[in-house]
Symmetry: C2
Subunit: 250 residues, 2 copies
Amino acid sequence: MSRRNIRVVLAYDGTDFFGWQNQKEGRTVQAVVEQALAKIHKHPVHVHAAGRTDSGVHAAGQVINFFTDLSSIPSEKFTPALNSILPFDVRALVSEEVDESFHARFDARLREYRYYIYPQPIVPPYFRRYCHWIAYRPHLGRLNRMASYIVGTHDFTSFSALGDPNPSKVRTVQSAAFFPQGPFLVFRITGTSFLWHMVRNLVGTFLMLDQEERPPEQIREILEAKDRDLAGDTAPASGLFLHRVIYDNG
Amino acid sequence: MSRRNIRVVLAYDGTDFFGWQNQKEGRTVQAVVEQALAKIHKHPVHVHAAGRTDSGVHAAGQVINFFTDLSSIPSEKFTPALNSILPFDVRALVSEEVDESFHARFDARLREYRYYIYPQPIVPPYFRRYCHWIAYRPHLGRLNRMASYIVGTHDFTSFSALGDPNPSKVRTVQSAAFFPQGPFLVFRITGTSFLWHMVRNLVGTFLMLDQEERPPEQIREILEAKDRDLAGDTAPASGLFLHRVIYDNG
């Protein structure tokens, strides 16, 4: 019986999860997915994920992979099989067989995150779980000037989280820009990988500089100082979506 | 000290409410709004609402009115005052003084409801609370043919709810049509007033006839039969929004 490596694209509402990764306590996305796969396989199945999203962070295109020894389920049928078991705040969107060597985390070439800001005096209740509500309109041109300074390879220590275990804080941002979308102001950022809280710390800092009417160039100074204290607050998890993950073979 | 009549437009996420109207048990929108007003006034305040939405039904533009004896709060400041107290699944959008004779329910000239259908194999988790998910694409032209038969003044007994206390089941529908909006298929209906469950019973019946490939004209036969058993299931509350209410003076 041959073993297949299955890739699945997941969407989830992170509101009621303590993030992706299994923890001693608290409901995690990884746990509900592994429980669903264990039910299908009748034995434990371990999954790898492209992005270990934090507590409250959403996903529109998380990518996972796992190995199956079940010959009875065609690869594309893992989507309905999972959806018949998963709670409604997690959905499998696509499933397919990939090369045995494929690893959702290590092979990811590009990760795209989107951060949704609702810049209006009052946030409609049906949007509140999926955005960061600020009661004013920030200056789009200034935000995009700031974003331009973080594109490229930099030491992002100033935008890292306390206790981040990664020895190197150097990361490469491929693109970073704000754009309006309906009533939202969206920050789109792509890169190979990101530090813990990095996207939310960047957004929090951009908004702080804009609100204090400080020059956009100060982003460069904050970067170069490698000092977390100079950056702004971590923007709320509710606005952040892991939008998609790109691999060399699609 | 003069008494003012205040009109407020509300939006709410109905998911975690047992509808608008106060009940012996269960959290209602009316109760949280009256509690907020009692806190502002330091005495009980009764509110009237244009639409007594059911359990789980949302509002983008519910209209209420109440009388205030507080001279300290300008009419437009009831919006931030309420929002500083209300839970985040209810928001005041606008508040203004209206004529003493204004009554949110009795003076409503037109009510508009919208019903959101998500006609795709998989519903993204962040939409699930705000739509009715059906895993197939219904035929838009057929649905609109059906909707055309209910426009006008009819006895809607076939689309009423068991136990509806209204003596007359005659209602006037001013307009009724389906249109695509982003990934959703939206049913928009306007009329002076609606029977209990009427909009959801109409949607459930349209979808049933479409799926069973029955002629759209059968809607007319179901109407004329005045028999609830001929109509389809009540579509879920999650898809329904009280979109707006129109009065003669704006």
